[in-house]
Amino acid sequence: MNLSFLPPDMNWTCEPCGEKLQPGIVELQYVGSVFKVELPVCPKCGKALISEDLAIGRMLEVELLLEDK
């Protein structure tokens, strides 16, 4: 899942860091699998934003796939 999941609207600011979210690489893990994806991330504290579309779409699909591995 080496993919990019940047929402069209990147106009989000991390509070209280006060930083605008920027594209960044995030490590996700689930049932023993680890992979890197591109997500909006706060450059200061590193917190990532998982959008609704991603969570109920591709991410859910991959979760179910991994559970059946």
Binding site: T13, E15, P23, K47, I50, E52, K69
Partner: protein, 758 residues
């Protein structure tokens, strides 16, 4: 599952047993497949089925006396399907294939003596296998008595054509003046077949003795015989053909030095273990050919349509879930076995295993008691044990169970009592779905017996259904201890599932359905409504006592009940059982929809979960408590409470009991409980579908208040916050005005965000 378990499972499902017609065909022809192909106007397909099992199909299809018909299940309902006439019609309509597959030539030569039907069969079968065959016939030409069959039945051209097929397979025809012993003592042949359905030198056949009835081998090595039917035998032709075929099998084995008997498939003579229900079938008369001789294509199609397509599928016919996965239990057992055997790759049967409602209907309707429920539950347990149960499969139900067992749980004697003669155990679903009625019922039980205590808890069924043996066993132990501490009173359950769990897993506890007690003394306030169809919960399947009690109670009250076909022992699951609704919500919806369409009346039930589940379709569904206590009745058309409401209901019921009966101030609520939320009905629906509780949202917001971490949108100022709660990360988009939160959306995932950097 071990391989031997798989064999046992497979043996139980007889769906793959042959239909009676096939079992009654001496050649084992797939007669059902053939008839159905004719029905579907697929004549080339039908002919291909004939060719597959028949030697010299052009001949056999025209001459066979169709002994299969005597076993046909259509027989008692208008007469057996005219398989023989259908075969004739088909063979006349579709030309023969000209090319035959012949195996590579083999070295040893075979002499086939005589040219009756049995000999032609042996020549055909062995030549196809590559053996060099020489057929010895009398000057009249090959065919023996077939040459005397009237032209109308078998035209000369047909026999001619079939003989050419034999020649095409390399059969060498050799004319001799007499058939006799001299022919089966020649040295150049490795084996001899003596077809007795021809004319022989007087006395020579007598010297052969009697052949083995299965292998058709004779005392003298190398000699085989057949074609033994007497002239007026009803099935003379096909019996001789069948004997020829059996002898050919033996000769082939003999030439290869193999055992004549090992793993030989016996003729079935119509015997089969296939079960086929004739329920609801109408009588239909046999189609008689207009010309008195044979069918036209249209007549044949009409006749073939009388075939009832013999098969079992008793379980599949009734179970939406078994239908959904496209096969039947024998195949499913194989899938489940493969699923556990697989090391790398996808576990494709996980979904199947986790979708069964474990309702047990299949076992009840199966002629061999095949329990898909047991198959699936065992598989679930193995998956849990081997740590490969998908985390999401039963997660929500297990969380529900754990919540009901902590924040919703309570056990007390009646106020002012230090003992209980009985404990009312409503079950977590009744408590969550109908808290006020639960309280009202408890009040009534106290009127009947003031020493009735109350026990709010979950029976652990979700843990059991999820295959979590250890967790479930611990719950059982705890429940037993609590019961023991309360002085081991009678337990009165308000839920069939709880009753089933207690009975099956804690047999030492004396337990009864509360409806059995109420059937004796229904409350005065009980009032009948319009007639309704009573739906028994699937966990009451084998509990006729409770089922009858509910009916007796309704009769006393004057509530009339309309019939529901699948009731009592045959009742169906509402879609919640076995956690189907958790692991396969789409399928559960279909199951629920199928159940409510079985009646045009409103439905009445005595299981809170059934009420909740069935009512989701929009069908009016009442709970018996709506009839028993008019003052707290809910309208049958009322929507089901949301998952959030159910949690809140359980907590509130517990504090109400504490304050009303025991004068106790309920414990202070959690900090997060005070957070005020608003949301549109659409958002509420999204939460329900995604199984996100308002409690979860409050916890996320509380987390934000503590940590102060949140994403804010540049223009709109709306916020997104998240928190990991247990195995799930919840995300929330909202706006905040004066300390009140307007929820715009909410989503979740199970993946863990290990770390990120820009």
């Amino acid at each position: 599952m071990e391989q031997k378990d798989l064999r046992e499972w497979e043996a139980r499902c007889i769906q793959e047993e042959p239909p009676a017609c096939r079992a009654g065909c001496p050649l084992g022809l797939d007669a059902k497949g053939f008839v159905l192909a004719v029905r579907d106007d697929n004549l080339p397909g039908a002919r291909a089925i004939l060719e597959k099992s028949m030697p010299l199909a052009g001949l056999v299809a025209r001459m066979c006396e169709a002994p299969c018909e005597q076993y046909c299940l259509r027989q008692s309902l208008g007469g057996s399907v005219a398989i023989g006439l259908l075969e004739r019609m088909c063979i006349n309509a579709v030309p023969a294939k000209t090319k035959f597959l012949r195996l590579p030539p083999r070295p040893k030569k075979v002499a086939v003596i005589g040219a009756g039907p049995s000999s032609l069969t042996v020549a055909f079968d062995l030549a196809k296998k590559g053996h060099p065959v020489t057929l010895f016939h009398l000057p009249g030409g090959p065919g023996s008595w077939l040459c005397k069959v009237p032209e109308l039945v078998l035209s000369e051209g047909v026999l001619e054509e079939e003989l050419q097929r034999l020649a095409g397979l390399g059969v060498n025809f050799c004319q001799v003046s007499v058939l006799g012993e001299a022919l089966w003592t020649q040295d150049e042949f490795a084996a001899f077949y003596i077809g007795q359905d021809d004319e022989y030198v007087e006395g020579d056949l007598l010297k052969l003795g009697v052949p083995d009835s299965i292998t058709f081998s004779l005392e003298t090595e190398r000699l085989f015989t057949g074609g033994l039917s007497v002239e007026n035998h009803k099935y003379r032709f096909i019996t001789d053909v069948s004997q020829g075929r059996e002898a050919a099998v033996s000769i082939d084995r003999f030439l290869q030095g193999a055992s004549l008997t090992a793993a030989r498939v016996d003729l079935r003579h119509g015997k089969t273990n296939l079960y086929t229900s004739l329920d609801g079938l109408q009588r239909e008369e046999v189609v008689v050919p207009a010309d008195g001789l044979g069918y036209t294509k249209q007549e044949a199609i009409k006749e073939a349509a009388r075939c009832i397509n013999c098969e079992c599928l008793e379980c599949v016919k009734r179970c939406v879930y078994l239908k959904e996965f496209g096969a039947y239990p024998k195949t499913y057992a194989r899938r489940v076995y493969n699923n556990s055997a697989i090391v790398k790759g996808n576990h494709q049967a996980n979904k199947f295993i986790n979708s069964c409602s474990l309702c047990g209907q299949c076992e009840t309707v199966c002629p061999n008691d095949f329990s898909v429920a047991t198959l699936c539950l065992d598989a679930r347990r193995t998956m849990v044990q081997e740590d490969r149960m998908p985390g999401s499969a039963h997660w929500f139900a297990l969380e529900e169970m754990r919540s009901a067992r902590t924040e919703g749980a309570l056990i007390r004697h009646a106020p002012g009592k230090d003992f209980s003669t009985s404990l009312f155990y409503p079950g977590c679903q009744l408590a969550g779905i109908r808290p006020q009625q639960t309280l009202r019922l408890y009040g009534y039980l106290q009127e009947l017996d003031p020493a009735t205590g109350l026990w709010l808890d979950c029976c652990g069924a979700p843990g059991h259904w999820a295959g979590r043996v250890q967790e479930f066993d611990e719950i059982m132990k705890e429940l037993e201890e609590k019961w023991h501490e309360m002085g081991e009173p009678l337990v009165l359950t308000g839920c069939s599932t709880c009753l089933q769990m207690f009975r099956e897993h804690l047999p030492q506890i004396n337990v009864e359905s509360v409806w059995v007690l109420l059937a004796e003394k229904p409350p005065e306030s009980a009032k009948a409504c319009a007639p309704m169809a009573l739906s028994d919960p699937c966990t009451s399947r084998h509990d006729s006592k409770t089922q009858n009690a509910v009916r007796a109670m309704m009769e006393k009250i004057g509530q009339s009940l309309t019939p529901l076909p699948m009731s009592g022992e045959l009742t169906e699951c509402c879609g919640f059982g076995g956690l189907m609704q958790n692991s396969n919500p789409d399928l559960a919806k279909k199951v629920t929809a199928a159940r409510v369409t079985q009646t045009s009346s409103d439905i009445l039930t005595y299981c809170a979960m059934c009420r909740d589940q069935l009512a989701r379709t929009g069908k009016p569904v009442a709970h018996v408590l709506d009839i028993l206590f008019q003052d707290v009745a809910h309208p049958a058309s009322e929507a089901s409470p949301s998952i959030s409401e159910r949690r809140k209901n359980r907590r509130q019921l517990k504090s109400q009991v504490l304050s009303k009966y025991h004068g106790e101030q309920p414990k202070a609520t959690e900090d997060w409980e005070a957070i005020a939320l608003t949301m549109s009905p659409e958002v509420a629906e999204i939460l329900e579908e995604r199984r996100i509780l308002e409690d979860d949202i409050r916890k996320v917001l509380f987390h934000v208040q503590q940590q102060g971490k949140v994403f804010v949108h540049g223009e709109s100022g709306r916020k997104i916050a998240s928190a990991r709660l247990g195995q799930v990360t919840f995300w929330l988009q909202y706006t905040e005005t004066d300390g009140s939160f307007m929820v715009e959306s909410c989503w979740s995932h199970r993946m863990i965000i290990a770390g990120g950097s820009a």
